[in-house]
Amino acid sequence: MASSRTGSSVWSVPPASTDAWYVYGVVPKGTSPDVFANAGAEIELVETGELTAVASRVPLEEYGAEALEANVKHPEWLEEKVNAHNAVLAAGVGVTTVLPFRFGAIYRDEEQVRGMLTKRPELRDALARLDGAVELGVKALLDPEVLRARLAHDRGLDAEVGSGRAYMLWKQLERELDEEVRSFAGSCADESHERLAAAADDARVNPAQHPSVAGGEMLLNGAYLVRSDRDAAFRDVLRELQARYGDDGVTYELTGPWPPYNFVGDEEQA
C-alpha cells in the first residue's frame, strides 16, 4: 500500500497487517487441508462451529480497496483470479460439499472470517441441502448448416440453382428452412432441458453464450444439480439426447462437475 501523497499518515490498517483474507467458499467442518493441497493456491482453512471457510492470505497491495478497484478493471487480472477462484473450489468437488462464494469476499483478518461464519447460520442449511450434489453444465450447440442440409434433403431438394424459376423456388425454400431451423431450435432446447431437469435434483437455464465464444449456435446453456446416486442416469439422458438429435446437427457438451454456483443464490444472498 502506498503512503499518502500529502505526507500525513493515512494507514487505515495496522502496519503489521499487510495481508487480507480472501474467502473462496465454505465446506463442512473437519474437511482435511489435503483436499486443497493441489488447488494451485496456499489455502488456510478457518473452522468455526459446523463451518469451514476456504481462504487464502492475499496481499493488500493487490486486494486493498483501491488496488482492487483498479485491478478488477483489467480483464487479464480478473480472468486469472476468477480461474484461480474456481480451481480452488473445484478441488473440493466430489470430495466434500462445497458452497461457492461469488468473487470478492475479502476480510481484514482471520477473526473477521470467523465472524462472518458465526453470523451466517443459513450456510449450515445450505451445506445440508447440497450434501453429495454437484453442478453439471450442459450446453447444446447447433450447426445450422447440417440441419438445413438435412431438411433440404428430406424434401428431395439437393438440386443446384439453375434457371430463374429454380432461383425463386430456392429463395422460398431458404425462407422455409430458416423458419424450420428456428422452430427446431426452440423445441430441441425445451425438450432437452425438460428431460435433463427431470433427471436432476434442480435445474437452471442461463443465457446462451455468444457463437464466437460457444463455437456454434447455442440452443441451451443449462446447469443441473445432480446427486451422486443420480449421476449415471443423468448422463444416460444426455447420451439419449445426443443419439436423437446428433444427426440434426446438435452437439451436447457436458461441463463440470462444478461447485453448485447456480444453486446457492437467492436464499443465501446478503
Binding site: L68, L78, Q112, P207, Y261
Partner: protein
C-alpha cells in the same frame, strides 16, 4: 457428446466467468469490491454471452474482433454505451 473438465478455450473461460462473477453466494466482506466495476464486467460478459444477436440486429457490433470489448475506450464512454445497450437489450 463432448466433455470438458478444464483447460483453456474461450468457452471454458466463459463458463468460469459466468459462474464466479455472476453466481455463487454474495457476501460483503471487509474490503468492498466496487460492485459497479464488477457489474460492469458482468454486463460486458452478458452482452458478449447473451445479447449479441439482439445487439447485432440493431447494428451494434463493436465487440466483434475483441472478445474482451472496448479495451481502449474511456470508461465513461463505455458505461454510457453499456447503459444504452442494456436498455435496448432488456437486461436489468
Amino acid at each position: 457428446m463432448r466433455s470438458s473438465t478444464g483447460g483453456g478455450g474461450p468457452a471454458q473461460l466463459a463458463d468460469v466467468l459466468e459462474r464466479v462473477l455472476d453466481k455463487g453466494i454474495v457476501i460483503a466482506g471487509d474490503i468492498q469490491v466496487n460492485l459497479l466495476d464488477i457489474e460492469l464486467l458482468t454486463i460486458r460478459l452478458r452482452l458478449l454471452i447473451a445479447s449479441a444477436d439482439k445487439a447485432r440486429e440493431m447494428g451494434i457490433d463493436w465487440w466483434e474482433g475483441d472478445p474482451f470489448l472496448g479495451r481502449g475506450q474511456k470508461n465513461g464512454e463505455l458505461e454510457d454505451r453499456l447503459k444504452r445497450l442494456e436498455r435496448a437489450a432488456g437486461i436489468d
